[in-house]
Amino acid sequence: MTTASAPKRQKRINWAPYLLILPSLIYLALFFAWPMVQGLILAVREEGALLTVRSEAETDSSVAGQLPRGTQVNILNRQGNPIPPEAVNQGNLLTEIWYKVRGQDAEGQTIEGWTPERRIRVRESDESGAPVSGSVRSILSSSADPLTSIYLEADEGSEVIGKMEARTAVEIIDQATLEVWFQVKGEVANETVEGWVPSRYIRTLGDGAQGRIEEGDTSQFTTRYIQRMVNDRFFWPALRTTLLLIILIIPAQFVLAIIMALVIQADLKGSGIFLYIFAIALGLSDLAVGIVWYSIFTQFGYLNSILQGLGLIDAPLTYLSANTRYWIIIAVWLAEVWRATALVMVIVVAGMQAISREVLEAAEVFGATLWQRVRYIIIPLLRPSLQVALILRTILAFQVFAVVIVLSGGDVMTVLANETYRQYYDLQNFNVAAAYASFILLLSMITSLFYLRAVRTQEEVAA
């Protein structure tokens, strides 16, 4: 064994953890970050709002201006333009076909060149349906040139290499599909824009001299969807109800959760059983819970059965109707407190377990009552847990909708999440639905920030 220079090793980066978190990073980027951004974009961007008008009938020619969707335009001229074959079936684009023909021109010369399909009557096709021969159609209009022009290229702008008389027999050598471009003239904000646009964006009206821009090629920032959301007749009621429910539900949940936690932490015999019972609702969906409370509050439900059984009422009362909105609020409030307190309870119990038993005993030795211990020891020490619980609970509360649908029948009372669902599902307004979703996101973030500031932990206050 030699003791030559001891091998030096550079400190290497350990890639293992990065490899291990990579799948989840990719997944969250794909199915979380990306849709999130898309959702925000959907709410504020109008796809195809503007149509680019070009100075020539070419996709790469200079831009003459932009016309918004829905603009009425005059169609001044049309021209075919080569397009890639894969784009042929796209949208409502108009195409025209040009044939490359060979035949005698008016002067008896044999020429080879391009002419539009409408100028040729096809006589023969091969087995695949492609035309192989035909004849030149006669031009009926008396004012026009009776001869058919043959172009060098499949483009009306190219050089005319000759003219053919009507009924000249021609060989069809080749064909090309062209997209029709329109030369349009339209007005936007008192300014006239004139130029060429592909036909796929235009719906022609009447005799073909008029048209309307159906769809643009450029998206545009818009507040249209947000305005539509705000002006929706359900928006303000939904927002009001959502906030009202949060204000009613959250404090009740926290008081109940802290009481539950105190019972569990009291170290009684069987407190394990209490924990399991209190936690049952942790796994219940808001839909199921809505149905549970519906069974209590419905006209022939348990509440009326019990009240009547006790002789307090003579006939069943109606709770869940448009005339008794406050009962719906109470029912939703009870259902949500019943369902979602378990989550707060678990967080609070976990936080309490972290409080040293000695601290509480010290407080007791120095004469603090139960209330004083809760107020001055437990709650201040629980702040970080409470903060998290508050944020989670509020964000979840913004999303509650099935309970409301079940208990209100869907339209008597509405909340923001329900409106999102309605816009998407019933009205198929994806953009307005996205605006609602973004609004909920915004509210969630504002309340989170509010809690982070308002419920500061002691270290932060000290800092």
């Binding site: 064994m1 003791t3 001891a6 091998p7 030096k8 400190k11």
Partner: protein, 364 residues
């Protein structure tokens, strides 16, 4: 043959140097204790030897085989962990047999070794039990049995007794010592308990801030510490240090401590001459001072501040100059706080230290 050679090993965590260019050779079948306060790098060094976290620089060889970059399983070692690391989902038997099974030993051989190891540790009657139902001491025995069942030539122990209560620790200490003499493995034992180190090791390597300050036999480390840290870390109470001033009087060096002159041994004279007129530290252990209850010509009069009767001795705290000094006396020595006693410093028990670098001065 399984000697362990550690050559210039360095291990860093970000900017913190946990092990700083350490070289150490452990002979075959030797028992070396790595001793030091927490954070001194002793566990990191042990883990580098085990292959749990490789050294950044330097090399480690076991029995002449370079193992610096080998994974733990190829190093032919076994180990006892601080918190035992008993597999909770396996019975005691399976725990002890684990290493043997992983190394694909023959079934009968495994059984024989498991039974031998558990007999050595008196756990034969709990082989079917699960660790969750066992006490700390029993788990500790399982951990040791698992390690010795491997019959590796190298045994590493990371503070194996630190999680036991005091009484059990005392009992296990003696038992471990007997066991390790019996199995004759090369052993590295990490601890922060100096009594464990003194009572068990063939040699003690005292570590501080990633470096080995001294590696010697226990009695040497105790009696002739190489520097102030070692003297102050080992022994209960630790070595006393007092400020002194070297003075030369007609060719003879004396050291003034408080208002008392101490005369060093003849062997120390030439060394101390270079410190003429400079401050110096005097180190002496509590039990090496003679305590008298009446004045004597060569004794220093001091006032007793605290008396701590410890049963086997009485520990006095006195003040000499600016320094508080602990003095051990016979338990029958009666004195009350506020009374005076007279101390005598036997010249051969005094260690002289350079005040600036803390090194103990020894004649060449």
């Amino acid at each position: 043959m399984a000697d362990i050679r550690i050559e210039n090993v360095t291990k860093r965590f970000d900017n913190f140097v946990a092990v700083d260019d350490i070289s150490l050779t452990i002979e075959d079948q030797e028992f070396v204790v790595l001793l030091g306060p927490s954070g001194c790098g002793k566990t990191t060094l042990l883990r580098s030897i085990a292959g749990l976290g490789m050294a950044d620089e330097g090399r480690i060889s076991i029995g002449g085989r370079d193992v610096t970059y080998l994974p733990p399983r190829e190093r032919k070692i076994s180990m006892v962990f601080q918190s035992y690391a008993i597999f909770p989902h396996m019975t005691v038997y399976d725990n002890v047999a684990f290493g043997l099974k992983m190394n694909k030993f023959d079934k009968n051989e495994i059984d024989k070794r498991v039974r031998d190891a558990s007999a050595l540790l008196h756990i034969e009657n709990m082989l079917d039990r699960y660790p969750s139902k066992m006490s700390g001491g029993q788990r500790q025995r399982v951990a040791v049995a698992r390690a010795i069942a491997m019959r590796s030539e190298v045994l590493l122990m990371d503070e194996p007794l630190s999680n036991l209560d005091a009484l059990l620790r005392l009992e296990m200490r003696a038992e471990l010592k007997r066991l390790l003499q019996e199995i004759k493995a090369t052993t590295i034992y990490v601890t922060h308990d100096q009594i464990e180190a003194l009572s068990m090791g063939d040699r003690i390597a005292v570590m501080k801030e990633g470096q080995i300050l001294q590696c010697d036999k226990p009695e040497t480390v105790y009696d002739l510490p190489s520097n102030r840290f070692v003297g102050g870390f080992i022994g209960t109470p630790p070595m006393n240090f007092m400020q002194g001033q070297v003075q030369r009087q007609n060719g003879h060096v004396r050291v003034r401590v408080g208002d008392f002159d101490v005369s060093p041994t003849d062997a120390m004279q030439p060394l101390l001459r270079s410190y003429d007129g400079e401050p110096i530290l005097m180190g002496i252990r509590a039990e090496n001072m003679e305590t008298l209850d009446k004045p004597a010509r060569d004794a220093l009069q001091v006032e007793v501040l605290v008396v701590e009767p410890l049963g086997s001795q009485n520990l006095l705290t006195v003040k000499i100059g600016e320094d508080l000094v602990k003095v051990a006396t016979h338990p029958t020595f009666r004195v009350k706080p506020g009374e005076d006693v007279w101390l005598r410093f036997p010249a051969d028990k005094i260690r002289w230290l350079d005040r600036d670098n803390g090194k103990v001065l020894y004649p060449a």
